[in-house]
Amino acid sequence: MRRAAHLTRRRLAATLAVLGLGLALSVVGATLVGPAPASLARALAPGGAAGPDGIIIFRTRLPRVLLGAVVGASLATAGTALQGVLRNPLACPHVLGISGGAALAGVLAILAGASVASLAIPAAAFGGALGALALVWFGARAGGRTTPHAILLVGVVFNTFAAAMIMLVEALATYTQVRGVLFWIMGSLSTQSYGLVAAVAALALAGLGWLVRHAHDVNLLGVGDEDAYELGVDVEAVRRAVFVAASILVAAAVSVSGMIGFVGLIVPHLLRLLLGPDHRLLLPASFVGGATFLVWCDALARTALGAAEVPVGVVTALAGAPFFLVLLRRSLRRAAA
């Protein structure tokens, strides 16, 4: 709370301006690199947009980079909000059952014969995520109240259940269907649709706006439910608003990109370390920081192996897991001292 008092309009604006500039440069930089050689100059030359350079840069790379930015922004913002409102440093988009619900619905749609290249899969996954959200929320509620503890437990249980159901589906499906499912579940940011990017971006911005409105209450929740209540916070209403908004961010992200881990876990932690615990700054900073992080992870995924790519989730894990361990060791040592 001490730091929160120090948050001035000027500091908020300056921090977000720096992060925003970093994101803008990252989007441009990541669009200039890829497994195939492409020249921006040739793409921008008269008639160049219809040539190979133009098609590579504007039809395949830029939409993918932008989708990475939007998905990274959504996952990191949701992670920050969930860690704050559940007061749990391990809370992340993938432990709450939402991604499990999305994956299960997506897999069922693939088995029903839907094309993974069509919008039917994201639509099904989004529906599955909302279903999981309702299930977790009402499953964790008793007597008109929820506790962070119950939400986490029900979420983890539902995620494990969804994973088991996916295994069941795989056991019943044909071999070629299983291969298709495995590829899809690994996650990818590949898209050529600016419309899809715009739709996810609109949801992401709406979610961010909703969360920022509650940022001050999330700060107060940090002292515990009872004390927050004493301070005049409608604990249940705030928790519901934040949980629903974060879940919709995750649902949109997972339904278009599959399971991309670590973004929603480490970006919030890193920014909390750098910027302090005030959610009025942390939430928008996570939005921009998460976008930047995933844009670069996907740039690495596209180029690290040369002509073939690696799943972007591999890169986020390789970058994220060691970093997270270092962070954890640091806080453990501090707690022991």
Partner: protein
């Protein structure tokens, strides 16, 4: 996994070596279990389909195998079901999923013949090993000769034609292709094609869509495994790619394409029809 494949190859060689003289008299091999679709097809093509007393859940060809008892999935067979079928011999391909089950079956004193299926040479070796285990060595040679003749016919059909640069698509989202070193790559070359995914050096590379633009294939063979086969939306905007510009995105049914068995000739013919349609006006993509 590579280590296990090597070990399995060694085991296959050792077991195949046991073929002459066979440890069990050929006449005694009456009950056969197959743990892989390709092995089932080979047993059937050898005329020993009536000896099959159990097949894996993914064995679907020829259609007559539909009525046979199942002994678990291709990825995870049930040792109990295999042993319960009281087979004289079990045929399998190396896979991490069937490792434990195969060991358990062997521990029960049942002979297991493991065959590789990653190249045409391994397909021929597999046919001969299975035939020898069934006491049908002569039929095995005839089968190898017949399928090799089918491939030769495809080679002749495309002889003198320009080599077509092709992308063999296995999945659309993410985009996955058959790369160099796969059986499919080998069949593509026989069918008069050159694999543009060779630049990746990976067996089943994931490709960024821009690589399709950069490699500019003449033909895109769409052998996608899921419901997306025939959905060309992922390629539609890549208008500088000859395959897209000329409408040469050809879906082919995956049945024979992914089976390292007696239908490799059929798969090569499908590819030849996709790459050089002018050589076979009647033969389409099934």
């Amino acid at each position: 996994m590579r280590g296990w494949r090597l070990a399995a190859a060694a085991a296959a060689v050792a077991l195949a070596g046991c073929g002459e003289p066979p440890p069990t008299a050929p006449a005694a091999v009456r009950r056969v279990v197959s743990l892989a679709p390709s092995c089932t097809e080979i047993v059937w093509a050898l005329g020993a389909g009536d000896r099959l007393v159990g097949v894996c859940a993914h064995c679907d060809h020829p259609p007559a195998v539909a009525s046979l008892p199942r002994v678990g999935g291709y990825l995870a067979p049930s040792a109990e079901a295999v042993i319960g079928a009281r087979p004289d011999v079990v045929f399998a391909v190396p896979s991490p999923g069937n490792h434990d089950a195969v060991r358990a079956v062997e521990a029960a004193g049942i002979r297991v013949v493991v065959v590789e299926e990653h190249t045409l040479d391994e397909v021929w070796a597999g046919m001969r090993a299975i035939a020898a285990a069934l006491g049908l060595a002569a039929e095995g040679e005839r089968l190898v000769a017949r399928v090799q003749a089918e491939l030769e016919a495809v080679r002749r059909r495309v002889a003198g034609r320009p080599v077509r640069r092709a992308l063999l698509v296995v999945g659309h989202a993410p985009l996955v292709a058959a790369g160099p070193g796969t059986l499919q790559d080998e069949l593509l070359r026989i069918a008069g094609g050159e694999n543009v995914a060779a630049v990746t050096g990976a067996l089943w590379p994931r490709l960024a869509v821009e690589m399709v633009v950069a490699t500019a294939p003449d033909v895109i063979v769409d052998a996608a495994m899921g419901g997306e086969r025939g959905d060309a939306s992922v390629f539609a905007s890549l208008t500088t790619v000859p395959a897209v510009r000329n409408g040469r995105i050809v879906p082919i049914a995956g049945g024979a394409f992914y089976r390292a068995g007696p239908r490799v000739g059929e798969a090569a013919a499908q590819l030849a029809a996709a790459l050089h349609p002018e050589t076979a006006p009647a033969a389409g993509a099934r």
